[in-house]
Symmetry: C2
Subunit: 316 residues, 2 copies
Amino acid sequence: MIILDRAQIEDLIDLEIAGQAIAAAYIAASRGHVNLPAVGHITFPDRSADCHIKYGHVQGDPNFVIKVATGFPQNAETGLPTGNGVSLVMSAQTGAVNAVLHDQMLLTDIRTGLGGAIATKNLARADSRRVLVVGTGPQALRQIQSHIALIGDHLTFEVWGRSNAKAQAVVAAMTGKCAIAVAPDLEAAACKADIIVTATGSNTPLIKDEWVNRGTHVTALGADAPGKQELETNLVARADVLVADSSAQCLDHGEFCHAFGTAKILATQVSELGLVLSGDVRGRTDPAQISIADLTGIAAQDIAIANVVLAAQGAN
Amino acid sequence: MIILDRAQIEDLIDLEIAGQAIAAAYIAASRGHVNLPAVGHITFPDRSADCHIKYGHVQGDPNFVIKVATGFPQNAETGLPTGNGVSLVMSAQTGAVNAVLHDQMLLTDIRTGLGGAIATKNLARADSRRVLVVGTGPQALRQIQSHIALIGDHLTFEVWGRSNAKAQAVVAAMTGKCAIAVAPDLEAAACKADIIVTATGSNTPLIKDEWVNRGTHVTALGADAPGKQELETNLVARADVLVADSSAQCLDHGEFCHAFGTAKILATQVSELGLVLSGDVRGRTDPAQISIADLTGIAAQDIAIANVVLAAQGAN
């Protein structure tokens, strides 16, 4: 049984290889080739805390994966991480526990970063250069790193956050690795962006419909639970191309649920990312289109990233 | 994060302490003080294999437990264990992973053994001495060890199995530790036993109604899935005291389901072990009664035994 801690896991991950595995996982999921039982869930009401157990098996994979993730918001009061967990990589041939990945949310962060970059790469205009990143949490950095790794270092970044200091910190962390600056004004930055990546926990729309030019692509990944929203509903309604990592999830509790719930879009307008990646359905067909990817996160990503770690460990 | 393998776990377990913890877990479960979400399950049809995820939290416990158990019957062809798994002990205060117990089914075996002894201790006549153990698998040994640890070394054992060689092996393993012999004839052994413990995977009744004297106690733990049966239905119907670890499970797919399904017993005749242990309901009230405990295994046992290991590790 292999046991890896967070630092060991980070050393083993190559973003390009992991990106390929996650793209394949999106395809497998959208084609129905992933056995994904219902997510397990236990709550700790006195702490407003919970634990999710996501698990599944991609047909043909030698391993299956059980990801355990806890959310204990009160940890912030004592300086502990609010998210924690472990992924078990289990043999689908023998049932043995091949590996315990004590990643403490690292794999979730990385797979979410890569999911954003995969969506952008496959939906944005080919000549896109200017990326606006909205949000300054750990996922802002992951998105920038993943976009550079999967799309290229010709991209230039502006970072906007409610806290200017946090935006400065994101810029400082990436200075020297790419062209990056703080965006002083969200409206001005949105108006000139080719690509907008939203990675906040906002409950009210941050990006107004009128700010977004024709030809823009938006990757929205902050809205992963009921009540969260980053884009004005009219922007989603106006977009030409709507792509979801999971149609069922996004229409239920993702960014798209607001437009869907008010009948401004139809479920049939939403394509799944995996089918765009596979070529089964078309994504962007015209440079002037507005495209939006709504990413809520799917267990197939967790399976893929855990398998990537174990494969890299085996190759070492 | 503490990581313990099977041998380390075995060294840490004291059967008496673990027995107390499991008795407390039965009480908590029967009183509704355990948060037990639905069991997770994923299948691997091409191998007739599966994986169960049992998890839960006893109110007030500092930890919660996630037990992952795999069953891959085809492993027998290559000499690998057919059952495997791991228990995660997680903090209910912070969500951190406190321990990974790579027990490979050891904890399930031990908690099942202790469950049998707890039932016997609380339901058999106080002057019981002669124990018949039916079955020669690993659980036969666990039952003998647990009965000695929790009830006392005044007990004498006879072991019966379809394979005389396997029965001899069980006897050999315990020789010098207790009075024990192979039972050459099941009927004769059953007729003179004060306590009968059945631990087989039988699909047809092994213990006939007419063999069982007044005053006998039976602990039946082999029937844990639909189709399995160790006791004649009429014996269950004739018994005075019926106790289940979980009424819902036992009436659905335990030993009692056959008598219940044919309307030979009523659900209201079955008491839960936890409520007998707590004194909320009465178990045996007369030495002449026949009592039967039907044990299908409950997740509260898994939680308790994992917590025992972690507590022992912390005390070392």
